[in-house]
Symmetry: C2
Subunit: 404 residues, 2 copies
């Protein structure tokens, strides 16, 4: 049996980077950027008015002038005007380029306009540069705005659009096969016999993968049959980058997966991890059609399965994609907790944030790892290390959120 840390390390060492691909910006939401994005010009690209009002040369204000003849109107989207006479002004709209030689914008609320003359109200605070968003003040042409490894969310796509990246280089989506196993499982739309239960792991795994940005998933179900297990596993290994199996990896008489996987040439990297839930976790790799394939065989019990997905598979996919950033965070336990077996414990918790912004984790009453119903009231799990038995309220532990 290996430790959680060793399991994590062995997986990380096995994983290779996914190939990159180019996608349209319209399809790039949630993808992992694989190129640096640089400004194609200054932002803003010109001295930009931040108000509706008049643009003028502030030196005229300094000279004591308060009434300005209007020499023209600058609209957003029209070419830059010139302020030929420093004693006049130009009406200007928000977002329009400041006329050449103008360096101050007076808001329309601070003016009276009559007969083509703009009269500035008394005691309006003004200065050189007031109302001006200066060219290049957000960034200079050529500046790196986003680094490879960023997840493309709304704010990143806004930047990509503004610099004209209609196409983006991103990590390709791994083809993921989600495979449930077990003769006790029937479909969601079937009525189970007393000794049967409905299949739910496949949907839960797929939903969490999609929430994590990995939507190229297909679902399969395997009966407890040695020959079928082997032939299906063979075709899945040929056609998938990542195979996630749920169930069939423990020591039961119909747990055919480990031997079937090894029979078709999947190299076992490890099995048995000192953790609860999820001790039977099996991980292996294969090569097929020149690409490396990864097989995560998770225990079939829903909580084990869901926890192992979040602890090992999703971080593995992020690593293959080149995503940067943390996937866990510190949190304080809200009550005492004891756990004696020499295993790391993944403990589902209800999180809360107190009125000071401190985050707390309330462990679920410990039932069994099959209790997927109470898991729905939790936001993730804390990882209690193997070396420690007793945890006090207020202790800081590591929290990982469920993906939603």
């Amino acid at each position: 049996m290996i430790t959680v840390q060793e399991a994590e390390n062995r997986i990380a060492q096995s994983l290779e980077s996914l190939p990159s691909e180019t996608v349209s910006i319209d399809g790039a939401l949630g993808r992992v950027l694989r190129e640096p994005l640089r400004a194609d010009r200054d932002a803003p690209p010109f001295n930009r008015s931040t108000f509706d009002g008049i643009a003028l040369d502030y030196t005229a204000i300094e000279r004591g002038q308060a009434a300005f003849p209007i020499a023209g109107t600058a609209f957003a989207g029209s070419p830059q005007l010139e302020l030929t006479d420093s004693g006049s002004c130009v009406e200007i709209m928000t977002g329009a380029p400041l006329p050449d030689a103008a360096n101050c914008v007076v808001k329309i609320e601070d003016l009276e306009i009559e007969s083509g003359i703009a009269q500035i109200n008394e005691d309006v605070p003004l200065s050189a540069g007031y109302g001006v968003h200066p060219q290049g003040s957000d960034c200079k042409s050529g500046q790196e705005l986003l680094q490879p490894g960023s997840r493309l969310t709304a704010k990143e796509l806004s930047i990509a659009a503004s610099i004209g990246k209609a196409e983006l280089v991103v990590a390709s989506q791994p083809r993921i096969s989600i495979v449930t196993t077990g003769d006790e499982l029937v479909g969601v739309d079937e009525t189970p016999l007393p000794h049967q239960i409905r299949r739910s792991n496949d949907l839960a795994l797929q939903a969490a993968l999609v929430a994590g940005g990995y939507d190229r998933c297909e679902r399969f179900h395997l009966r407890d049959d040695r020959a079928e297990t082997e032939s299906t596993a063979r075709s899945l290994v040929d056609e998938s980058d990542v195979i996630i199996l749920a169930g069939g990896v423990s020591k039961g008489k119909r747990d055919f997966l480990p031997e079937a996987l090894e029979a078709i040439g999947v190299q076992k990297e490890f099995q048995w991890v000192a953790q609860r839930p999820g001790k039977p976790l099996w991980f292996g790799t294969a090569n097929s059609n020149g690409r490396r394939r990864y097989v995560f065989a998770l225990p079939g019990n829903p909580v084990s399965c869901f926890t192992c997905l979040h602890r090992y598979v999703l971080p593995g996919l992020d690593r293959m994609s080149g995503l940067t950033g943390a996937d866990s965070e510190p949190i304080r336990l809200q009550s005492d907790f004891q756990f004696k077996p020499p295993l790391a414990l993944f403990l589902p918790v209800r999180t809360s944030i107190d009125r000071n912004g401190q985050r707390w984790a309330e462990p679920l009453p410990f039932n069994t790892s099959g209790d997927y119903i109470s898991v729905a009231s939790t936001q993730g799990f804390v990882e209690l290390p193997q070396e420690q038995e007793t945890f006090a309220s207020g202790d800081v532990v590591t929290f990982r959120p469920w993906l939603t």
Copy 2:
């Protein structure tokens, strides 16, 4: 000018609940549940073995028996067996129903099996109920497992699947039109002239809406033309539940939207909110084809637009959907901050969690509300109230995350 709170209240009072619809569980990820989900039977539905091993009657152990003849094998997915002789045992697999009259499972690791006899190793801690996940211990038949108003994520879908809800009643998706305005804007794939900039608000708004669970979005662009603005607005009000406009609502000479919207019968509920950014925010309602329509006209500046989406539009959509739960949380400021104008301030912040699980917000160096580039390095914004000018490091304020 109204306050942020009043703007929020007026929007909330205007909004009507979206209709419900029934969707397949396969398409339900991210939707808002509109019916309670109740257990269709006990969970687990039978006394379930949590190990691979042997099932027996614990009274035999109490009598001192350590070797048990194996009378059969219980597989997951096979009907329940009977333990006819309390001195014998049944081999059992994880997830299988415990035989009638058995009440204890001994793990396979704690046994030696030879010639059909299972011999329990010495000093194995056992008890009545050991290794048994009892029928109904997770929930009883009929128990409410999920309430209306839950967002359907992986863990909720797992429950829905397990109770056989192949179809679910959820809030319908509002049809959302995202409309950019302004002659200065060109497409992402175009090369802007010196006085032009590329359109990015539409993509950013759509991405955040999709991340928030609202993916029925279409994008449009309006030139600064009074007649076109009115005719396009008319057809959008007929065909959309929610129209989100970006730009054209301030006091500029080509800010045609407020008058065009009122001309086509959109009832203005308010304009001008005491906030920065986003002061020109305009909100109105209309009735068309028997359904209520909502028009949010946001300022065109990217940071204003993005902030107002998160502060008003997304919470509004959640309310229309019936989603329960908080959309903001307390956080501590990481540095002093001063803001004098009598406006509430929405301030983008970089968040961090210290090693004790305390969350901190570091305000961006305050530039102008057009600086969408530095917003990419933030995780959301804090809302500094209008009544206060000076904020000290350590002060607790309200944080809202960007949707990702």
